[in-house]
Each structure stands twice: as structure tokens, then as C-alpha cells.
Symmetry: C3
Subunit: 139 residues, 3 copies
């Protein structure tokens, strides 16, 4: 069994933002030399997500509006977590809706994707550096 | 390390519907000959889910009602995504709540399940053919 | 390829409660002797979750309040599932928001975590024994 591990760093310029990171995952598969296996891609921070969906700007605006309704950022004193001095209580909730990680099949040396699947880094407490882990195992 | 990959196709007759696909996953494990490993099962489309829960019709009706409250289908102009000519903006949101994929342990040649765990394909924009990927890796 | 499987049993004293189970997962990795691979940790019951987030009591109180708003326990007759004689319809919904499982990278013999990542067992229908599966595969 082979394995390959990479750490990506992102610093998104807004509190909430999404970035397509599919190319970095494809490159990790290529570097790994793995033909059949699984790729894990996860946020290493607990106010961020990695998820798979469509690369369409209208949808991303819909996600932001919907997540803000489900877990509003303000007033920040609505979250007990913010009594610790943080203001990101909402981000911990939004991240649970969108998920921490994706596991993707690697088949014949490629990410085995449906027609519209793309991998996104989802940031809910941005404007600082955060890391994403990519690990490929297989043969 | 061995691996085995299958693609299942479903065409559910309603916009929102759930189908038990456990037997297909069990068969993939059997065909793989793998005794110890992991099974990945994921929707290949971004308006559908694969999730694990109970095979109980009342619960499935509860899920549908709840998801419709969290992300209503109509009016379709409430979603910016639908300005692209689609009417499935809600389906992209519902899929995030229910999840894209499941990863299941394979132990002693079988899906290592608790007493009520069953795998479901969850459709949120149905009445057309969509695919599900099943991949087993291990030894 | 090596593999190692463990079953943990928990009996949390409230309907809804969270327990940090990171140490049990770390121990499973140690016992496995695996240096590079993946760890799967999942609830084996369908009214419980395994998720990764912060070990902060205020945040956990926020999660409970938020989940109770998204899927209230009472009145229990609001869920068709409860017509089967159960009173845990809400627990099946809450578990979908928080997720069934986590997949964590094992790198150099350790859980490859960001600074605040901790693994939790999330209970939504407690006061009875339930099991969690931990499986590590790799080399």
C-alpha cells in the first residue's frame, strides 16, 4: 500500500467564502502514483469545511444566505461559545451543516467524479491562514 | 491491497425520494473478496445523497417534511442558482444536510453494521437517471 | 495492508450529550501499529453521531440549543416515526446534521489533526448502551 500526504494553506479574504480546491487534490493523486484507492480531504480547523458540490456562483450565494439564516453570526452574544472571547460561535455550527471532510474514490489514477462534482474549501471564520489536509492511500 | 469499483444507476419517480441500497453494497463487498477494509458509497450527482439511517416509512416522511422546511423548493426564484435556468436550488441545500457519502467498515467479509443501519440513496431532484459509486478497498 | 477494529460502548446519562472520545481513537491507532493510513470512527446506532469539533462547554451548549431548534423533541406526535411507539424521531434528524462518522488521516503513527480537532460521540437518544466502531487500515 502506498500513501501520500499534503497540507494546503488558505487565507480567504472574507468571513464566509468558498474556494474550488479540486486541482490541488488532482495533483496530490498524480504525485502519489496511486491508481486505485481513496483520497481524504479535510479541513484541519473546526470553523471550516471541505465539501463537494457545483462550481456555480449563484449557488454559493444561496449557501451563504441559507447558512446565515440557519446559524446567524450576529448578535454574537447569542452564542455561549463567544463568552470565551471568540466571535465565531456561528462558524462552528455552519461547518457542521457543510461537513468537515470528503472521501473520494481514486480509479485508474484519477478522482472518480460525476459530471459536476468539484471539491471546495468552505471558510466560516476567514481572514487568516488555515490548513487543509489531503491524503491518498492505495496502490 | 485489493480494490473493487461499481457504478449503480437509479431513476426515482419523484422529486424527493429515498431508496434502500444496502443489498448492492453488500454484493460489492462479496464480489471484492475483501475481508478487512473500507467501503465508500457516494452519490455522483450534487443534488443527491447517500446516508445511513433506519428503513422506516414514517421516518422517511419526517425527513422529507423537515428538509422541505429547511430548504423549500418553491418559490423557485428564491434561489439565485435557479437564474441559470435550473429549478433545483433547494436540492443542492438538502443534499448538504443529508451528506454526499458514507464510509463503512468491512470486517470478516461483511459490512460492519449496528442493528438498524441501512444505506440509502437520497434523491432531491429525481425523475432522471443518476449514478452512485461503490468502492471497496482492503485485503 | 494492516487493519485493526475496536468497538466502544457508551451510556450517556442524558437524552442529548457529547463525550470526547479522542483518547480511544488514539489508542486504537497505537494498538494497530499502523504508521500511514486512515481511521474510521462511526456511531453504530442511528440516533447518535461521531463528529469533530472543539472541546468547549459553551459550544456544546450552543449545539444542543441549536439542534433543539432545528429538530425539537416535543411534541413527540409531530414525528410520524413516533407512531411506531418510539419517542426519538427528533434524534434521527439531529444525527443527520451532526453526521454519522469521521475519517481521519493517520500520519507517522498518529492522528493527523489540526490544533483544536477532537473527536466526539454525540448522543441524541441516550440513557442506554450504544456502540461506536473504530477501524484503522494502512501500513
Amino acid at each position: 500500500m502506498k500513501s501520500h500526504t499534503e497540507y494546503l494553506t488558505f487565507n480567504l479574504p472574507a468571513r464566509m467564502a468558498f474556494q474550488n480546491i479540486t486541482q490541488y487534490c488532482e495533483e496530490a493523486v498524480r504525485k502519489s502514483g496511486i491508481k486505485e484507492g481513496l483520497l481524504l480531504c479535510n479541513a484541519m480547523h473546526i470553523t471550516a469545511s471541505v465539501f463537494i458540490n457545483d462550481d456555480e456562483a449563484g449557488l454559493h450565494a444561496d449557501y451563504k444566505e441559507w447558512l446565515e439564516q440557519l446559524a446567524p453570526h450576529a448578535p454574537i452574544d447569542r452564542y455561549r461559545h463567544n463568552r470565551t472571547g471568540e466571535d465565531n460561535g456561528d462558524a462552528h455550527l455552519k461547518r457542521q451543516v457543510m461537513g468537515r471532510e470528503v472521501v473520494v474514490a481514486v480509479t485508474d489514477g484519477k478522482l472518480d467524479f460525476g459530471p459536476w462534482e468539484q471539491i471546495f474549501y468552505g471558510e466560516f471564520d476567514g481572514r487568516r491562514e488555515k490548513r487543509v489536509l489531503v491524503k491518498v492511500i492505495g496502490e
